[in-house]
């Protein structure tokens, strides 16, 4: 599904190398988790994959089902099936949540040469998905993320994911700022989307999200590289001993 090879990335405006050769393959149907200390490059990886400005790829490749991601505009990546659940979902005053969702859905469909969704079908679908995430009609009517609590913003991200049905989902610290109940709700939303055709990359600091979203593979990232890969037990090891042991081991 997602194949990253030897990815090197630096900041555009500064001579600062952030990613120093990332190799990673996420297969369809699998959940991969990336853990790592602050500043290891986890979020940069998610931004570079989704096409955010400010980064320069100096070497390496990233492909989604064989298609070169790095050469695409952000909207093309989305239409190709990539979805990034933002660590800090953006507030957009004046743009209604529903308008935003429908515009996004139809833009993706149009880009793929598919029929646009009708107003009626869209409404039915969004109500159904919102209900599962305990997002009420009032929230749907409000401007995108404006006045939402931290938990509401994250649930709204998952709602977008559920509506857009991407092939490859990247969750960037989706657990940050969530209480236990909200985390459960978000995890349920993610788990509901798990299927044989979809890949997940879950970026997190902590193991607790992974109690709810059980990963198949866990990677440890440090200083711009993946330094260790293992099964779910690796996350538990981090939880118990911190990163120091692992980093010492690979150094």
């Amino acid at each position: 599904m997602l194949t990253i090879k030897n990815l090197h990335v630096k900041l555009e405006d500064e001579d600062k190398q952030i990613l120093k050769g990332v190799d990673l393959t996420v297969e369809a149907g699998k959940v991969h988790a990336i853990m790592g200390p602050n500043g290891s490059g986890k979020s940069t990886l998610s931004y570079v994959l989704s096409g955010r400005d400010g980064y320069e790829v100096t070497d390496g490749t990233a492909t989604l089902e064989g298609e070169d991601l790095l050469g695409m505009e952000p909207e093309e990546r989305a239409s190709a099936g990539l979805f990034l659940a933002f660590q800090y979902p953006v507030e957009i005053p004046g743009v209604g949540n529903m308008t935003f969702l429908r515009t996004a859905m139809n833009a993706q469909r149009k880009a793929r040469g598919e029929e646009e969704v009708s107003a009626g079908d869209f409404l039915k679908l969004v109500r159904e998905k919102a209900k599962a995430l305990k997002i009420d009609a009032e929230m749907l009517k409000r401007p995108v993320n404006v006045g939402f609590s931290g938990g509401e913003k994250k649930r709204n991200e998952i709602l977008q994911m559920a509506m857009l049905e991407p092939k490859m989902c990247i969750l960037d610290e989706t657990d940050s700022g969530l209480d236990v109940d909200a985390m459960k709700l978000v995890a349920d939303g993610v788990n509901a989307l798990r299927d044989a055709g979809r890949g997940f990359l879950v970026i997190t600091h902590y193991q607790r999200l992974l109690d709810h979203i059980r990963p198949d593979v866990v990677h440890i990232m440090a200083d711009g590289r993946i330094v260790k890969t293992g099964g779910p037990e690796l996350a538990l090891e981090v939880e118990q001993n911190g990163y120091a042991d692992i980093l010492a081991e690979v150094a």
Binding site: S50, G51, R52, D53, E73, P74, E75, R77, A78, S79, L84, F86, P89, V90, E91, I92, P93, G94, V95, T99, F100, T103, A104, M105, A107, Q108, A111, P143, V144, Q160, L164
Partner: protein, 433 residues
């Protein structure tokens, strides 16, 4: 006092090219008075402080610069869905054939010339009166020129709640038309009136509207200035508001090489309110775009409220100007004055100049003003794109969101939606090229 220096050459040659319309003793007297004032003031030049950000030359030169007509193709005219009394002017001339009958429950409507032909007429004490009052402390020579030389116009008097809006439609058919229109509006005690205006009107359009709202009266105004790219317009709204009266005006401008919209509002009765809003969307790609909102609100009574909300979205060298002033006279206690002007510049070539002013001579008032100029929010843009919305569509969404605060100033929700839908359509058309 910023009285313009006399510029005999420019002013006299402009006057010489115009003919003082004849008819009616009081009308002739008002015109002669306006002409005398115009001669003293002189037409504005580039050096005038009040025209610092807008070059008045094309508005003052003798002949109107040629303006190509714009064909809106299959676009339905604005306000078509609204139940209204439709009154049409073609290149500034009343067109009876295309207009509805000048009859509406709760309202008296006449052509200006017909009113002037009668010695005893309510409009007699209003024509040119508010315009004259509006000449201090700042001179507005183009308005004096209008009062002197207006060739057509309406006098409208609401005596009750108007059964439906009066819609003034200004069609542009001649590439060289130079139209001067003057309307007088009187809203009597407790009466209510809505006036809609749309259309480019002429190659060059000088329009003046004097609106007097008596105690507890309400006046609503929604205007769209037409889509002709090359048209030029200088408009003045002079309003005087009685106690507990309400005044609300919204203007939408999308095209036009030159637009100067002046609002001069005086709150003279206690507890009156005046809201003025404007949304301009300028693209300098096909033609130059220059848009100037100049507003002067005077608080002269107790507990009045005024609000100015102006938004401009500019690209490809389009220029925006906002000059807004709130003057609070001595004794106008408990005044609540608010003013905001904001520009969204979509590229580095676009520009916005703002001159917000407060002048306060009372000590128990609440007045605030703000002005911002900014680029598109890149974070929001990326968020939308990351969800699959192409850059241009995402930009349009953010543009509409930005403009919407001004649209929300329109009282009627149906008219709000009308304007929104229209803007969306125009943006889509622009995108498709």
């Amino acid at each position: 006092m910023a009285v313009a220096q006399p510029k005999p050459d420019l002013t006299e040659s402009r006057i010489a090219a115009l003919e003082l319309p004849k008819g009616g003793a009081w009308g002739m007297a008002a015109r002669a008075d306006a002409l005398a004032r115009l001669r003293v003031m002189g037409l504005p030049g580039r050096r005038d402080e009040y025209w610092k950000f807008t070059n008045p030359d094309s508005l003052t030169q003798v002949a109107a610069p040629r303006a190509a007509l714009f064909e809106a193709k299959d676009e339905a005219p604005l306000f078509d869905a609204v139940d209204r009394l439709r009154i049409v002017f073609v290149d500034g001339v009343f067109d009876a054939e295309q207009s509805d009958e000048l009859s509406l429950e709760g309202v008296e409507i006449e052509r200006l010339a017909d009113a002037m032909a009668r010695d005893i007429h309510w409009a007699r004490e209003f024509y040119g009166t508010l315009e004259t009052a509006g000449q201090t402390p700042v001179a507005r020579p183009l308005a004096a020129l209008n009062t002197a030389f207006a060739t057509d116009g309406l006098v409208i008097r609401a005596v009750g709640k108007a059964a439906k809006p009066i819609s003034l439609v200004y069609l542009h058919r001649s590439e060289t038309s130079d139209a001067i229109l003057h309307h007088v509006v009187r809203v009597e005690e407790g009466a209510e009136l809505t006036i809609l205006e749309n259309g480019p009107a002429a190659a060059r359009f000088n329009k003046c509207m004097e609106i007097s709202v008596a105690d507890r009266g309400a006046f609503h105004h929604v205007r769209a200035q037409g889509r002709d790219h090359e048209r030029r317009a200088a408009t003045h709204m002079f309003a005087r508001l009685g106690a507990e009266s309400r005044y609300k005006s919204f203007t939408l401008t999308v095209n036009g090489v030159m637009t100067r919209n002046e609002h001069v509002i005086e709150l003279t009765g206690d507890d009156a309110s005046a809201h003025v809003a404007g949304a301009a969307m300028g693209d300098g790609k096909l033609q130059a775009f220059h848009h100037d909102d100049t507003v002067f609100v005077t608080h002269g009574a107790l507990r009045c409220e005024s609000r100015q909300v102006f938004k401009k979205v500019l690209r490809n060298g389009a220029e925006g100007v906002f000059q807004g002033k709130i003057l609070v006279k001595p004794g106008a206690q408990k005044t609540d004055g608010y003013q905001i002007s904001q520009a969204l510049l979509l590229d580095e070539e676009a520009s916005f100049q703002a001159k917000p002013e407060l002048e306060i001579y009372a000590d128990d008032v609440k007045c605030s003003h703000g002005s911002t100029t900014g680029a598109i929010d890149e974070t929001a843009l990326f968020y939308l794109r990351a969800r699959g919305v192409p850059r241009e569509t995402a930009t349009d969404l953010l543009v509409l969101a930005f403009i919407d605060e001004a649209i929300q100033e329109i009282e009627d929700a149906t008219l709000q939606d009308d304007i929104r839908t229209r803007l969306q359509l125009w943006l889509e058309r622009r995108r498709r090229g």
